[in-house]
């Protein structure tokens, strides 16, 4: 045991004062001649021992008061058997929960503000020369990785830290902390302070295993850090979130009406009536709606809009339901096309009407132009023979269709591969002209090429036999979802006499990870298969595109089917413009822009100059620091504007916290100290560094002794009156 004011221990001598007073009083007696001695004798003989005991008890109690008071003022500190670290420097990793759920709380101070305030105090309390690293559990807390672990730098980081990121990931954060402890942090006293609202979605059972593994990693260090859990969460708030926005069509053209569907979810047990939902396009309020949202219910709100100009647009759906702003709005970057260029490579060109291989699809992709209607087609097909196909043409197209092409030159194939891997869409329709060997070797490349599946034998139905047909089913693929509504026609109406059997490379099942069948014939053979290739997609048909082997082009569904497939393949926007936090933002520009600078304005308003770098036949822009959710606006050298929306996932919108007992269990499991604020942290740290002060307990003893003495005097004397 140590004493903070050891000199005051001299006050222990005051314990003798009551005894001295007793002896003094006893010696200063007065003499009284007394007549009724027989009564006094009787009173004394029966109670002499009791009286002595009472007096002894009182003296002891009175001695206790100055004794414990002196002891209390000397501020004793219990150290136990452990060695105290006193002012030893610490290496500390602060894991700061900066997920957007931390922004909930009362209007005065939300959980994140409380977290940064308390963390700043914790850092300030560290001895000079300590190392501190602050890690965000949901996103980076600093623009650049902080190294050097300087205290003032860490305080600055905490002060400037912003919340609003997606889900906190304890396991990942623990792993990072373990890396720091085993790396450059070198003080013997190590601490890991985890500041969080302990939301179930991040700390619940489902994340337990990964967290335990990461925690074991932290504990496997030679010098185990001391763990402190700081619970800064408040009472669970009501919350309604705009979970997502969906568009009715994958490719949007100018003046084309598009339906926008917002999914709203109420995460609370409270019902919201007449909840206002706002729709904005490019920052302008377009319309608003009202919905009722019951407790824990999900609902959808529909808006429609048409864009008058092509280019990059941003739409936003927002509500004004609760104080947690981060999930009250959801945005989407929408590229609006003026035209959709499709290159049709014809392997069997013919000048006669409807005789060429691409005649029907050409007609289906520009019905208004073909019928000389006044309406404008968005899709602009261009037919080119296989021989005339030039690689430059691929760059200018969004979708390319190979129609009964015999084979392509290596250069043409390379151009196609680049086109698809950069996000382009390719349709492959076989026919009687195809070169089996080329298709199953160079085009297939043993599964690594563009062709999804190997071309097998040609299956046929004789005239006596019933022709094959496409299986009518519920289609999950976006390109075929339209046909789930019977009013849009049924794919089963076509009669098919000949078709290619599509085989996987081993000759077994046609399904594997990158290839999926999206429609089948009634005999089980694949009709349409899809393969992801780079950032683009390839859809292959087992039928030719013309009417040679089937009556497909004669059917009413042919036109919408082709439109849907082309639209689907063109919908891939690459590089993506709707990103998650931390995902790199990129743009592909013409090679001529190489060396120039584009400007990017982030959601906070900071402007970044981004160099444009040549990469192959194109120039690219890359920006990795998408750490904050919101809209990033890129302005290219040719004054083109591209919007990027960086958003967080909505798992944090469910603000349910772990119960007190669950947090305590977690602390026990992690062998961690559980505190609510800096004061509690200081108490645990003080006792660890300097031992446990017990003056408060002693002060209570003094008070109890004082009251006890009063009570006993009352009991022994006053009551005798």
């Amino acid at each position: 045991m140590n004493y903070l004011n050891p000199l005051l221990l001299g006050g222990l001598l005051a314990a003798a004062i009551p005894f001295i007073i007793y002896m003094f009083n006893r010696s200063q007696y007065k003499v009284h001649k007394w007549g009724a001695m027989h009564l006094l004798d009787a009173a004394m003989t029966t109670n002499r021992k009791k009286i002595k005991l009472e007096q002894l008890l009182l003296i002891l109690l009175r001695s206790c008061i100055p004794l414990f008071l002196a002891f209390c003022m000397a501020r004793p500190v219990i150290t136990g058997m452990k060695n105290l670290i006193k002012n030893a420097k610490s290496s500390m990793v602060v894991l700061l929960d900066n997920s957007y759920s931390m922004e909930s709380g009362d209007s005065v101070q939300n959980s994140f503000q409380k977290a940064t305030d308390e963390t700043s105090k914790v850092i300030e309390s560290l001895p000079r020369g300590s190392q501190v690293a602050v890690l965000g559990m949901a996103g980076p807390v600093a623009k650049k990785e902080v190294s050097g672990y300087d205290l003032s730098q860490s305080k600055r980081v905490i002060r400037d830290a912003k919340g609003g990121f997606g889900s906190a990931s304890p396991a990942e954060s623990f792993e990072k902390a373990a890396g720091l402890f085993s790396g450059t942090m070198h003080h013997a006293d190590r601490q890991m302070v985890i500041v969080s609202d302990f939301q179930k979605s991040s700390w619940g059972k489902e994340t337990g295993d990964a967290r335990k593994r990461a925690y074991e990693l932290v504990n496997s260090a030679n010098v185990k850090p001391r763990l402190v859990l700081m619970d800064v969460g408040g009472k669970t708030q009501d919350n309604v979130a705009v979970e997502s926005i969906e568009l009715s069509q994958s490719v949007i053209g100018v003046e084309q009406k598009v339906k926008i569907r917002a999914n709203l979810k109420n995460f609370s047990n409270k019902s919201f009536t007449d909840l206002r939902v706002y729709f904005r396009a490019d920052g302008e309020s377009k319309s608003a709606s009202q919905v009722n949202l019951g407790a824990n219910e999900t609902t959808q709100v529909l808006f429609s809009h048409s864009f008058s100009t092509p280019g990059s647009h941003v739409i936003e759906i927002s509500i004004d339901a609760d104080s947690l702003k981060a999930d009250n709005a959801c945005s989407l970057s929408v590229p609006v096309l003026d035209k959709l260029p499709v290159l049709l490579i014809d392997g069997d060109p013919d000048l006669q009407p409807l005789k060429s291989e691409t005649a029907f699809i050409n007609f289906a992709l520009q019905p208004f132009a073909a019928t000389k209607a006044e309406l404008k087609d968005m899709t602009v097909p261009e037919v080119v023979s296989a021989k005339a196909f030039k690689p430059e043409q691929a760059v200018e197209s969004r979708v390319i269709a190979l129609a009964n092409v015999n084979k392509l030159s290596d250069k043409q194939l390379k151009a196609l591969q680049d086109f698809v891997s950069n996000g382009g869409g390719l349709m492959v329709f076989p026919g009687d002209k195809v070169d089996y060997n080329w298709y199953n070797s160079k085009f297939l490349q043993n599964g690594r090429g563009l062709l999804p599946l190997k071309l097998g034998k040609i299956n046929a139905r004789t005239d006596e036999e019933e022709p094959a047909s496409i299986v009518s089913q519920h289609y999950n693929h976006p390109a075929l979802e339209l046909f789930n509504d019977p009013r849009n026609g049924s794919l089963s109406g076509a009669s098919i006499k000949l078709w290619y059997q599509l085989q996987n490379i081993e000759g077994g099942s046609t399904d594997n990870e990158s290839v999926k069948t999206i429609a089948k014939l009634d005999n089980g053979d694949a009709f349409l298969v899809e393969k992801k290739f780079g950032h683009g997609r390839v859809i292959m048909s087992s039928l030719p595109i013309d009417a040679d082997w089937s009556n497909l082009p004669m059917k009413p569904f042919y036109l919408p089917l082709m439109q849907q497939i082309v639209g689907y393949l063109a919908s891939t926007v690459y590089p993506p413009r709707n990103l998650e936090i931390g995902q790199s933002l990129a743009a592909i520009l013409p090679l001529s822009d190489n060396g120039k600078v584009a400007t990017l304005t982030d959601p906070v308003g900071n402007v970044h100059d981004l160099p444009i770098i040549a990469k192959g036949s194109q120039s690219v822009i890359d920006f990795a620091d998408t750490n904050f959710p919101g809209i990033y606006v890129l302005r290219t050298p040719d004054d083109q504007t591209i919007h990027y929306v960086v958003s967080t996932d909505r798992s944090e919108s469910n603000l349910d916290r772990m119960s007190e007992s669950e947090i305590q269990d977690l602390a026990r499991e992690m062998n961690a100290a559980l505190v609510k604020n800096y004061d509690e942290y200081r108490e645990t740290d003080q006792s660890r560094r300097y031992g446990q002060e017990i003056w408060m307990g002693l002060l209570w003893v003094v008070l109890i002794a004082a009251f006890g003495e009063l009570f006993l005097i009352q009991y022994f004397t006053e009551k005798r009156v």
């Binding site: 003499v31 001649k33 009724a36 006094l40 004394m44």
Partner: protein, 296 residues
């Protein structure tokens, strides 16, 4: 005089040293207050008629009866006896106690003087006994006026001292007080209660009426001490050095027991116990006495 005696406190008594004057002041004043004259004398009460026999005095013949019945009848009266009161005054060491003002013995002697004066005023005989553990002075009862001075002299010369042994003294007195009468014991009765009651029973057996004026000092009843005190016995060498606060409760309990035991014992033996405190006026004590006498 009535006004003075009514408010005559023990302190006032100190100023009047002459016992006789004090006694007369107290008694006359008190009796005047009660509208009764002490000079009224005694009356003769008729008892019965009986037939005249030879040798009866002729003066006792009832001539009116003879005139009516022509027979001689003698008028018989109650025997005319005076009260023989004996005052037994305790002069033991404990009677010398005085917390403030007058001592218990001082009070006792003055009270005895008053009672003697009162009795003689009523033509009763008065005797006096002073004692500690043995009889110190024994003055037989007389009803002469001179006798009062004898009693007063004896009282004035009485000094406290010696131990108390009431039972022994009372046993000693029983043969000396053969003729029945009134015994007025003025004492603090600090003795063993059973043996005291036993000795009182002897008096009662001899047909004495007994009144005990138990004299208390206020401090003996209240025990008002608050600092360490060495209580030294007034009758022997015993002492107790104590913190009175710790003993008070038990002392009061013992006191209560002692008084209750004595009161019950006296009641059982038909002895009148009159507790008096030295700070009370004598008139109150006398009133208690006369109240008790009038009941008989």
């Amino acid at each position: 005089m009535a006004e003075i005696s009514k408010f005559l406190t023990a302190k006032d008594v100190q100023t009047v040293s002459n016992l006789q004057i004090l006694a007369r002041q107290v008694v006359e004043g008190f009796c005047t207050g009660l509208h009764r004259s002490p000079n009224k004398g005694y009356s003769v009460e008729f008892r019965q008629h009986r037939q005249y026999v030879h040798g009866d005095e002729i003066r006792h013949l009832d001539w009116k009866v003879y005139g009516k019945s022509d027979r001689f009848y003698i008028r018989e009266y109650e025997e005319e006896t005076n009260l023989r009161g004996t005052l037994l005054v305790d002069a033991s060491g404990s009677m010398d106690y005085a917390s403030e003002g007058i001592s218990k013995l001082f009070y006792a002697t003055r009270l005895a003087a008053c009672l003697a004066h009162l009795m003689l005023q009523q033509a009763d005989g008065v005797g006096l006994v002073t004692f500690d553990k043995k009889v110190r002075k024994f003055i037989p009862a007389r009803s002469t006026a001179k006798h009062l001075s004898v009693c007063f002299d004896a009282l004035e010369s009485t000094k406290a001292g010696g131990e108390t042994e009431l039972s022994k003294v009372f046993k000693e007195l029983v043969p000396k007080l053969q003729r029945r009468g009134l015994l007025v014991i003025i004492s603090d009765c600090f003795a063993d209660v059973p043996s005291l009651l036993k000795s009182l029973a002897h008096f009662r057996h001899a047909h004495h009426e007994i009144i005990i004026f138990q004299v208390w000092d206020r401090a003996e009843l209240d025990f008002p001490f608050d600092r360490w005190t060495r209580f030294e016995s007034m009758e022997d060498e015993a002492f107790h050095l104590i913190d009175p606060a710790h003993v008070k409760k038990n002392y009061m309990k013992r006191l209560e027991e002692f008084r209750e035991q004595l009161t019950k014992g006296c009641h059982r033996h038909k002895v009148d116990l009159v507790p008096v405190v030295t700070d009370e006026p004598f008139a109150e004590a006398l009133a208690k006495y006369l109240t008790l006498r009038s009941r008989r």
